[in-house]
């Protein structure tokens, strides 16, 4: 850096020095730096005659003395220019120190402001925006970015830049840093992704399994060690704030999911029959136990004067709110089909469901399995139609339990599908249990399924009880089998027992 701009402050010293040489006979004296005259005395006077030259090796300054005829001048001239050089040099160092102190002070104030602001930012987005905007400004660069890798989720990328870069480039830069977190500053244009001239990155210390870093890119010149240290100070502080923001985000998400699940559960339970008909010659009971993550199970029992008893149950694919909503539609359509259509055959109910709901099921890419039973008024024959519903187990009083396999594909798959009806001769003491797969697919601690054979043998033990007791007993058996293993799927069943 040139010393020329410091000369005016030391004009008097230079002129005093020059005056002595003029009094001793010199015509003019000049101060020269890198071949350029930066001061002369008398002011403005230039001599073209060869000069006697003394120089200062530290600063490179030269003192040119023109037309001086006496000998023995050199030691004195050398001493003068060396002292003058030292004074200018000391001045320059002082200026540099002062401006660096001012800059550090500015940065400390900015860092303090930033740390106050980050403490107030509780949303992840707000925090990352604040960090990128401020770190880019503090480090006097073109832009900054933040990348947060959360397990099992796509990375969060935020940037603040006059000319934003593609996310892929920023992720590539973060990946480079992640490989070698000890190297914070990158300036090799060959190793950096396109669009990045130089970048300094620093990770934010957050909880396990999360990697987050802040990067500042494209600074004229290059990032210096103080820049890197400043960024590290920012990220050390921001880590704790980011951790809080992530926890807050998780909590919000959980509340949202819990609310959705509660709503789904309410939809589901509100649609199930709240009371079951008491009829002569038949004992019927149904119940649905939603899992933590609600599925789309449903059941209904409709008894009307002078009409056969109709019951249906089913399982809409999927879980959560979508399944609960489709289940409620299916339930409504089925109920009106049972109540207001003049038919007795169960397959007609399924065909009606398929016709009315195919478009809705197709739109969302779902379907439902369903079982419909129609008990004739004599209580001697059960007509049923099974669209992919399993397991349906019939336990005759005399004989082995029988799995009533489905005859048809589920509802909501093909337009105009013709469903079949089957007839089952029944007599007093016989029991039919229609279940959703939440029963047989229950797993124990080792992951083994409860399976259909266990269901059959449990039912044989329970068959002498009432419909409600059979249901309760079976639910208990399955629940005991699962132990601490959480219930993965809804468990819904309808038990029908022929009585005297």
């Amino acid at each position: 850096m040139s010393l020329a701009n410091l000369v005016p402050q030391h004009k008097t010293e230079f002129e005093t020095m020059a005056t002595v040489w003029l009094q001793l006979g010199a015509s003019s004296v000049q101060l020269v730096e890198n071949g350029s005259v930066i001061a002369s005395y008398p002011v403005g006077k230039t001599d073209l005659t060869p000069a006697m030259i003394a120089n200062d090796k530290v600063t490179g300054l030269e003192l040119h003395i023109h037309n001086f005829m006496r000998s023995g001048w050199q030691p004195s001239a050398d001493l003068q220019i060396q002292m003058f050089g030292q004074v200018l040099n000391a001045d320059q160092e002082m200026d540099a120190l002062t401006s660096s102190l001012v800059e550090t002070q500015d940065r400390l104030v900015a860092l303090y402001d930033l740390s106050r602001a980050t403490r107030r930012a509780i949303e992840v987005d707000d925090l990352l925006n604040l960090l990128t905007v401020e770190s880019s400004r503090l480090l006097d660069a073109d832009g900054a970015f933040a990348v947060v890798y959360l397990p099992g989720q796509p990375p969060i990328v935020r940037q603040s830049a006059a000319n934003p870069l593609p996310e892929s480039q920023l992720l590539a830069a973060a990946a480079l840093y992640r490989l070698d977190p000890n190297k914070r500053t990158f300036k090799d244009s060959q190793t950096l992704p396109t669009g990045l001239r130089n970048v300094v990155m620093s990770y934010m210390p957050v909880r396990d399994k999360v990697f987050a870093c802040l990067g500042v890119f494209n600074k004229d010149g290059n990032f210096t060690a103080p820049d890197s240290k400043l960024l590290k100070a920012i990220t050390d502080q921001a880590g704790a704030n980011l951790d809080n923001a992530l926890l807050y985000q998780d909590a919000i998400l959980r509340v949202r999911q819990d609310t959705e699940m509660d709503l789904a559960r309410q939809v589901q339970t509100s649609l199930m029959p709240q009371s079951l008909p008491k009829l002569k010659g038949v004992d019927i009971y149904g119940v649905s136990i939603p899992a933590l993550q609600v599925g789309g199970d449903f059941f209904d029992v409709v008894a009307m004067p002078n009409r056969p008893l109709v019951f249906l149950m089913g399982d809409v694919t999927g879980k959560g709110m979508p399944a609960a909503l489709l289940m409620s539609m299916t339930h409504t359509v089925a109920r009106s089909a049972i109540r207001y259509m003049p038919f007795k055959a169960p397959n007609q109910i399924l065909e009606r469901l398929n016709k009315d709901l195919l478009d809705d099921y197709s739109t969302v890419g779902m379907f439902t399995t369903a079982f419909v039973g129609v008990l004739e008024e004599t209580n001697q024959r059960l007509l049923y139609s099974n669209a992919g519903q399993s397991p349906i187990i019939f336990i005759p009083q005399k004989g082995e339990p029988l799995l009533l396999e489905a005859d048809d594909i589920p509802v909501g798959i093909f337009d105009g599908h013709i469903y079949k009806s089957q007839t089952l001769e029944i007599s007093i003491g016989d029991v039919l249990v229609a279940m959703t797969d939440g029963f047989n697919e229950t797993r124990d601690q080792t992951g083994e399924l409860f399976g259909i054979e266990r269901l059959k043998s449990e039912l044989v033990k329970l068959v002498h009880l009432s419909a409600q007791e059979i249901a309760t007993g079976l639910i208990q058996a399955v629940s005991d089998y699962a132990g601490d293993h959480p219930q993965d799927d809804d468990r819904t069943l309808v038990v029908l027992k022929v009585t005297s």
Partner: protein
Amino acid sequence: MEINKKTSGSIAILQLKGRFDAHEIAPVTAWLQTQIDTGIFHVIVNLEGVNFIDSTALASLVRGLKHCREKGGDLRLCVLQPAVRVIFELTRLDKAFNILVTEEEAAASFGIS
């Protein structure tokens, strides 16, 4: 779940391995949609490596099946493990899909390549 994608003539083939459930359907659904979008309606899903399938995964296959058939093609399945075959039988979806024993048979069954 591991996913392997390949083509054989004008037939697109997806080979799946592992647990095929609600958490794994996104890439399968996206792949099926890409086939439809690019005019490929003859699709085979090889379930040889699949040891478990849930109802959401079944629904994703049914959705692919419908889309292919709407365009005059088909989605056929092959190499079902016993545990998976049982699910198809219990839900009677074995009647909705053409299910072949080997991938070669499935490819040949289209009669186009």
